[in-house]
């Protein structure tokens, strides 16, 4: 085919090479034909624009926004064009264009949806010819393999273009060496060199940065470009790869600026701690509000497993169902949620069906897990252990350590080793008591529909076996999302998620060795770390078919399913329905109503047999039914008036939450299956309603936009919550916001044309009503029996809390200033924000003196501020035309918190509020430590020393400082109990709260391969670890020792030792025979205070998409295989298992696990 080409004045991008330019000219004939074909359509478009001294680019932008037409031109050409005064009001596009180009050396041509600008004289230059080649292909979603309909494929630098049909297919005639520019709303732009191929299949990945991307906000959606609140969006690809994580929300870690995600436990389904922009309260709730498809959900069952981490009901949400997660952070975004907005809002949107061909997606994953590579090192040499104990006891003049000493408090021991036997055993209990975990999962989903009805239906299954024996978790779930549009003006829909989990949880307690495992909670990871000695055998030496000392503490015996049941079943029904009606006679007005209920039923059964519990079998049966019922009704109005756009929501919402709890405990169960038997002794039966609260709200929001670049918004909410007394029940929350798309201004010139800058800010108020109900009345606890159960009515009551009638809302004034940017045609994009959250009337459970009879009381006690900066940047590091692609996403957040005010009633003296081991004091951060200060080991005496506090100065000023002697030197004291307890220091700046955190994701792709790795980090916090403290005090107990202790304790005069000399049962016999009693040394001291900073190689994922061939297409559309490795390496100075999520540590639980998994995803 021969085609005549326009001359060298064909429009082009500025960076387009002249050679390529020449090769891609269009024929004048084609232009003319195209022009004729589209003229009728053009006439239907109209333009409204008014600007004096306007650049042509500004006019083009306005046209593009109002009509959707794209412009193609040489920027340099436009720079030479003079400015002009333009005023159009609903002017037809063609008329407007004619006006714009009138008397200018430029003219235009419309091809499809593209307006091509060129010099007038070049229209006649139609002399060259070029051969075009026909190519074809399919454009698919890289994640799902689904064909994408309506994708624009254009030859870069030309007007040759096409769009994909309903099957995602396209055909195009292109010149040699053409580069295809592929664009699609919501997806990353892609450039692909044709390189002589005739079939070019294209994968597009969804974009989280596209300015036209739709962002879910409270009670509606907005285009990302128009959003003036601080919102982070996480797309489904984060949740796609197989992972050892058993809770989807842990995968948010490192993905969103300002969002701290910390998992402190590797237990199956353990909850994840998520904080948005710092800790906004001390005692009231600090977790964000979770909303799934408009439903505020239940996030806890209230069932703990006396020793092991709670299984969060969040793990019943299938990550494969998630389309996106939007995290609302500032008042502009959250004020619409009023009293529930102070801690931020996380909105989860699940997949919906789309009109078109039905698709079926199948994915199967499997993996293994094990303890992380960073381990805690224990002394596993039994002989060495005995030597140290000998030394300790001999120092007390009591001779050598004997097995009698060892067994002295193990009164339920049934087998007694000799020392010779013991010394011959060396068991690494961490290794012995754990196993390799594994998991398998399968997901099946189908989506499709028509213009009238669309559906998304999915099913999931996952089975996890923990690294702890007898611990597993099975989950099943189905979801059906159905949307129906029976009338043009009416939409109906329902989302139904049913999920079940069944699991065995196991125990986690190092206690029980002395009392015959009376509570039945002995065992688990804590026991392996802090109770088991290298010479404790698993099986009896006398009879290897039996366990060694099963009553005393044998983690293998207590994890034997024949001896212990700790099962938890959960059932979740998350159901919602909506109806939306567009009122026909008022354009842009619709009404919508949503009704939803989330019900989580959790059934726990705990049974321990007489084989591991000395006092007979014991059983607990517990159940909770947690409900969250929500109803809302609101009006939506959206309308553009010329240059003005208005988007409004007004509505009302009601919510009721409650939980019904039942527990039964009994002993000596009798029955065919003992776990299900009748208890001979009933310890306790309880049934009651707890946590009931109601919320009634009225809300509204208006967003106004002028000229598509001046943005303003207001949110208003009035909430009434039953957790407050009637006088203080209602609260009003208002937020104002504004934004300015700076890059659209004419003065930004060509910079503005190729870059995007939006400045935004908001100020508003949100509340926090996350406190228990009934705080205004004195509460009583039951279950305090006295006498005998054979007498009627032995139960007693005790005061459990004092009623406080004047509690008011904790309110947060939230200032947010930010800039969203996209440079180099969006190759570098992101946002930078500053926030300041000032919490008034801080709700705090103040510690009371023990004589008050209760430990704490609620009150509005002061003010707190969180301020910080957060940055998120995504960079496409290589030109998108290359086959090898590399992108980097970084987010980092810095948070500073400070107590601004404490009421005199809680801090009259100015010394701060003390709640061991923390101090809350004006001018300092929350959770700063208040501890004894270790001054090292005295080389002369071998005694641990602490710094003395200047008590007079403390009394006068409330400040802690070291006491100096006459020579100006620090006064040191022996670190005995009394000294430590009376010489605490405020460890200023050392808090349990991280001050910075974030993540870096790098993605590489080459052809069908994709590699990504995520590094997360967090720091600025300190960890006070009492477990390590106790492990370094071997004189206090017969427990294990850390390797670090063995060679580092004081032995002789002059030793510069890390740890003090050995003691025997709290007493140290000095060389001169005097005995120094140190009392109970378990006092908070900074010797076991560690930096909590860490950098973690969190995950590495590699995927490969099989090249599509015609024969494969007959079977499936797309196949992708993955492998992922999680929790690979952690850099930290903390000597425990994992610093993540740790603050004040009093016991160890299973850390996050290393896992490796593979998976396959097939799209049919």
């Amino acid at each position: 085919m021969k085609i005549n080409f326009i001359g060298n004045s064909l429009p082009m991008a500025r960076n387009f090479s002249s050679k390529a330019f020449l090769a891609m000219k269009l024929t004048a004939l084609l232009l003319l034909l195209a022009c004729l074909q589209v003229s009728a359509h053009v006439d239907a478009q109209s333009i409204t624009y008014s600007q004096n001294n306007s650049t042509l680019e500004s006019v083009f932008k306005a046209i593009r926004k109002q009509t959707g037409y794209e412009f193609l031109y040489n920027t340099a050409m436009l720079e030479r064009a003079q400015r002009g005064d333009f005023t159009f009001y609903q002017t037809p596009l063609k008329t407007a264009l004619d006006e714009v180009f009138k008397d200018r050396p430029l003219t235009y041509t419309i091809i499809g949806k593209t307006i091509v600008i060129r010099r007038r004289e070049s229209a006649a230059a139609l002399s060259q010819e070029l051969v075009l080649t026909k190519i074809q292909g399919t454009v698919t979603d890289s994640a799902t393999g689904s064909p994408l309909v309506g994708v624009t494929i254009q030859v870069k630098g030309s007007t040759i273009g096409s769009t994909t049909d309903k099957n995602g297919r396209y055909t195009l005639e292109v010149p040699d060496n053409a580069v295809l520019l592929v664009t699609y709303l919501g997806y990353n732009k892609k450039e692909i060199a044709v390189n002589g191929k005739t079939t070019v299949n294209i994968n597009l990945s969804s974009s989280s940065t596209d300015l036209n991307q739709v962002v879910v906000v409270g009670y509606g959606t907005q285009k990302k470009r128009d959003v003036i609140g601080s919102i982070s969006t996480i797309k489904s690809d984060v949740f796609e790869a197989p992972s050892g994580a058993t809770n989807f929300n842990s995968l948010i870690q490192g993905q969103a600026a300002g969002v701290s995600v910390q998992s402190s436990s590797g237990r199956l389904g353990a909850s994840v701690d998520i904080k948005i922009r710092g800790l906004s309260s001390i005692s009231a709730g600090t977790s964000p509000l979770w909303v799934i498809d408009g439903v505020p959900i239940v996030t806890s069952t209230g069932i703990s497993n006396n020793g092991s981490a709670e299984q969060s009901p969040m793990d019943l949400i299938n990550p494969s169902d998630i389309l996106s997660i939007d995290i609302l952070k500032d008042a502009a975004a959250t004020a619409i949620y009023g009293s529930r907005g102070s801690n931020g809002v996380v909105i989860v949107t699940t997949n919906s069906g789309k009109a078109g061909k039905a698709s079926v997606n199948v994915s199967v994953n499997a993996g293994i897990s094990q303890l992380p590579f960073q381990k805690v090192h224990f002394l596993t040499d039994s002989k060495k252990w005995f030597e140290i104990k000998d030394e300790a006891k001999a120092a007390g003049g009591l001779g050598a350590f004997t097995m009698t000493d060892y067994y002295s408090k193990k009164v339920y021991a049934t087998e007694f080793l000799t020392r010779e036997q013991a010394e011959a055993i060396d068991i690494d209990w961490i290794k012995r008591g754990t196993q390799q975990g594994n998991f398998q999962s399968a997901n099946l989903s189908t989506a499709g529909g028509s213009e009238v009805a669309r559906y998304y239906i999915s099913g999931m299954y996952r089975k996890d076996n923990s690294v702890m024996p007898n611990e597993d978790l099975k989950r099943y779930g189905v979801r059906a999302n159905v949307d129906i549009q029976p009338l043009k003006s009416l939409s109906l829909g329902t989302k139904l998620d049913l999920a079940i989990s069944k699991g065995n949880r196991g125990k986690n307690s190092s206690g029980g060795g002395e009392d015959g495992n009376k509570s039945g909670t002995s065992g688990g990871f804590a026991a392996l770390n802090t109770s088991m000695l290298p010479f404790d055998p698993v099986y009896s030496l006398a009879d290897p078919t039996k366990y060694y000392n099963p009553y005393v503490l044998n983690p293998v015996a207590t994890s034997d399913p024949a001896n212990l049941v700790e099962s938890l079943d959960m059932y979740r029904i998350l159901a919602s329905a909506y109806a939306e009606y567009s009122i026909p006679f008022v354009e842009g007005l619709s009404i919508r109503s949503e009704f939803s209920e989330d019900v989580v039923q959790a059934n726990r059964n705990f049974w321990v047999s007489a084989a591991i519990r000395h006092d007979g079998s014991y059983g607990e049966d517990g159940a909770t039914t947690s409900k969250n019922l929500n109803y809302n009704f609101y009006l939506k109005y959206s309308k553009t008036f010329g240059l003005h756009s208005l988007d409004m929501v007004v509505g009302t919402e009601s919510e009721r939450t409650n939980r019904w709890t039942r527990t039964m405990t009994g002993r000596n169960l009798v029955g065919t299956y003992q776990q299900l038997g009748t208890p001979s002794l009933i310890d306790n039966i309880y049934s009651g309603l707890s946590g009931e609260s109601m919320l009634k709200s009225y809300f509204g929001r208006a967003n106004y936009k002028y000229k598509d670049r001046y943005l303003a918004g207001i949110s208003v909410r009035r909430d009434g919550s039953s957790v407050f007394t009637p006088d203080y029940r209602w609260g009003n929350f208002i937020a104002l916001s504004a934004g300015w798309v700076l890059s659209d201004e004419s003065f930004m010139g060509h910079f503005g044309a190729n870059n995007f800058i939006k400045i935004r800010g908001s100020y508003g108020q949100t509340g926090n009503a996350s406190i228990p109900g009934h705080l205004d009345v004195t509460n009583y606890s039951g279950g305090h029996g006295y006498g005998s159960s054979d007498i009627f009515g032995t139960d007693g009551s005790l005061v459990s809390s004092i009623g406080v009638k004047d509690l008011v809302w904790e309110k947060t004034n939230n200032l947010d200033l930010g800039v969203d940017f996209g440079f180099l045609n969006n190759r570098i994009n992101g946002s930078l924000a500053y926030y300041n959250k000032y919490v008034h009337d801080l709700l705090l459970q103040s510690a009371l003196p023990p004589s008050a009879g209760i430990s704490s009381i609620w009150g509005n006690i002061g003010d707190l501020v969180n301020s910080g900066v957060e940055l998120s940047v995504t960079s496409y590091n290589l030109p998108t035309s290359r086959a090898f692609q590399w992108s980097t996403t970084l987010n980092i957040s810095f948070n500073h918190n400070e107590v601004k005010k404490l009421n005199p009633q809680v801090d009259e003296s100015g010394t701060g509020m003390l709640s061991t081991p923390y101090i809350t004091k004006v001018g300092y951060g929350i959770r700063e430590y208040f501890l004894a200060e270790f001054a090292g080991v005295d080389p002369e005496t071998g005694l641990g020393m602490i710094y003395a506090r200047d008590q007079d100065y403390y009394e006068k000023t409330g400040e802690t400082r070291r006491l100096k002697d006459d020579k100006g030197e620090d006064v040191l004291l022996v670190d005995n109990n009394a000294n430590m307890n009376t010489n605490f220091f405020h460890k200023k700046g050392k808090s349990g709260m991280p001050t910075y955190y974030g993540g870096v994701t790098n993605r590489f792709s080459y052809k069908s391969f994709e590699l990504s790795f995520l590094i997360t980090f967090s720091g600025g916090n300190y960890i006070l670890d009492n477990v390590i403290r106790d492990l370094n005090q071997p004189g206090q107990s017969g427990g294990p020792m850390l390797s670090d202790f063995v060679g580092n304790y004081w032995k002789k005069k002059g030793d510069k030792a890390k740890f003090q000399r050995l003691d025997w049962l709290h007493n140290i016999v000095m060389e001169d025979g005097t005995i120094i009693g140190v009392g109970d040394p378990r006092v908070p001291m900074d010797q076991s205070l560690y930096k909590g900073d860490f950098v973690k190689l969190k995950s590495v994922s590699l995927s490969y998409t099989l090249p599509s061939t015609p024969s494969m297409k007959k079977v499936f559309q797309n196949m992708r295989v993955y492998c992922t490795v999680d929790n690979i390496y952690t850099m930290t100075k903390y000597p425990g298992w994992d610093p993540e999520g740790m603050g004040y540590v009093t016991s160890w639980d299973l850390p996050q696990l290393f896992s490796a998994s593979v998976g396959i995803n097939i799209k049919f």
Partner: protein, 507 residues
């Protein structure tokens, strides 16, 4: 709301929960958490009648090292005040309703239940303060100022943070005045005994009655050095109890009850036989022989060897293991004590059925208390009720009060009642009256009464309170030669650090 908050007590039966919760809290927390047992464990430990098997183990205060914090005492402090807070709230509830929280009560309900419940609440508040006063307060000095502020005095419920965090700190005098006042109100309101059909059924399980209040008044006045008043209330218990209490049974009878039955001398007891609501305290094993029915190998307290020698039970305790006949004549030795053999006896020489200490340092015989886990009632045998107030104590208090008042005859009479009950005529081969143990006004001495009480009340947490009430020096026992003044700070445990930090009343 589906369930709006309501009063925890909507009728008189429900109001019985108020004292029951406090009884449970103070006396029946069970396992390792029973603060009542912590209290008498520390008392047992600091007395001069206790020797110590585990050198270096200062967890229990035997070293009288009150400068060192003891977690259990912190727990006891907090728990007693938790009890006080609940009582204050319940008493306020009655006051708020002008003394008639449940209008329309029958006269019987008013007397046997409402008054009785209020009486119990006063009794329990007095008891909680008594526990704290005898642990955390200086000894009362008769005629002294007793005006140092020592422990919080809370007699009204806290209604706000400022009240809860800023209490009055009572002086020694004020606290004892409060204790006396509470026991007197209890004494006025409490019935003499449980009456089936009239008194709420749960009341029969060892709970306080008028005589318990009188006995506590006796103890309290004795602590103040007011021996006249102490004698007056002891007499009421001894002479006016309507036949409910006497010393007609063997000493063991008070300690081997596993049902609602009580020993004839027991005025008040903790029902411990029921695993559900009355659980034995495991800490008792630190000073008593048995732990869940088996010999406990960590029992730390044994009878001080100076005392053993003074009683004539052993002649040369550390070197000669012979137990003299003098000991065997005393039923309290044979029934409520236990002989633990030395650890260094070779296996070949060990006598079957005897218990040999496992601690190598214990190279001599030791005599242990054996009052707990004594029942023989099948499944519940290991969990026997714990007597809190016994009639023998009243006799011995009256005896010393009479003696100090110069009435040696009365003193001898009361002492003989206790001695005779303990006398094993079968072993001695002679009746008590005919024996040399029989006391007359001519030969009675204060030491006799004191030693009799030491044996009778061994490990009942009495000895230190008795000596401090007697206002005499407290011997050091096995710790060191000599004695210390009864006001010695070694018997006064510090108010928990947290209390001093958080209670503005201390600042």
């Amino acid at each position: 709301m589906e369930r709006p908050p309501e009063s925890p007590w909507n009728n008189i039966d429900e109001f019985d929960r108020a004292p029951r919760g406090v009884y449970s809290l103070l006396f029946a927390a069970g396992d390792w958490g029973n603060v009542f047992n912590w209290w008498y464990l520390y008392k047992n430990a600091v007395g001069d009648d206790a020797a110590w098997s585990t050198p270096g183990d200062d967890a229990w205060g035997w070293y009288r090292d009150t400068q060192n914090n003891k977690d259990w005492l912190d727990g006891m402090f907090g728990t007693t005040y938790q009890a006080i807070a609940s009582i204050n709230d319940a008493l306020q509830f009655v006051d708020d309703h002008a003394g008639q929280p449940f209008p329309g009560l029958s006269d019987d309900d008013k007397k046997y239940n409402l008054d009785r419940i209020v009486g119990e609440l006063y009794f329990l508040r007095g008891f909680a303060y008594y526990m704290d006063a005898t642990t955390f307060m200086d000894a009362y000095v008769p005629g002294g100022p007793n005006d140092s502020k020592q422990i919080p005095l809370r007699i009204e419920p806290s209604s706000s943070y400022s009240v809860a965090a800023n209490s009055k700190i009572g002086t020694v005098q004020e606290i004892w005045d409060q204790i006396i006042s509470d026991f007197q109100k209890a004494h006025e309101l409490l019935p003499e005994r449980y009456i089936a059909g009239k008194t709420y059924a749960a009341y029969q399980a060892g709970r306080a009655n008028k005589f318990a209040a009188a006995a506590m008044l006796c103890r309290s006045y004795f602590a103040l050095g007011d021996y006249s008043k102490a004698k007056e209330y002891a007499s009421e218990v001894i002479d006016k109890n309507g036949g409910d209490y006497d010393l007609s049974e063997d000493p063991i009878e008070a300690f081997n009850k596993s049902t609602l039955a009580r020993g004839k001398e027991t005025i008040m007891y903790i029902p411990c036989y029921d695993h559900v609501v009355g659980r034995q305290n495991l800490h008792a094993s630190c000073f008593s022989n048995l732990f869940n029915g088996a010999p406990c190998d960590w029992t730390a307290i044994y009878l001080d060897l100076t005392v053993v020698k003074r009683l004539g039970w052993m002649t040369d305790p550390k070197n000669d293991t012979t137990i003299n006949l003098e000991a065997w004549k005393d039923k309290r030795f044979s029934q409520l004590m236990f002989v633990r053999e030395p650890a260094n006896v070779p296996e070949s020489k060990r006598v079957p059925g005897r218990y040999y200490d496992k601690r190598v340092n214990m190279e001599w015989r030791s005599i242990l208390c054996n009052k707990y886990y004594r029942g023989a009632d099948g499944n519940y045998g290991n969990y026997t009720n714990v007597p809190q107030i016994r009639l023998a104590e009243m006799y011995l208090t009256r005896s010393i009060c009479s003696f100090l008042a110069g009435d040696k005859e009365a003193a001898a009479t009361d002492l003989n009642v206790v001695r005779k009950r303990a006398w094993d005529a079968g072993v001695a081969g002679v009746s008590y009256e005919a024996s040399s143990h029989y006391v007359t006004s001519a030969n009675i001495t204060e030491q006799m009464i004191n030693d009799e009480r030491l044996v009778e009340m061994f490990c009942d947490g009495d000895r230190i309170d008795y000596l401090r009430g007697l206002k005499v020096d407290v011997p050091n026992g096995d710790r060191a030669p000599g004695s210390v003044h009864y006001t010695d700070k070694g018997f006064v445990w510090p108010v928990p650090v947290n209390e001093q930090k958080l209670n503005d009343g201390y600042h």
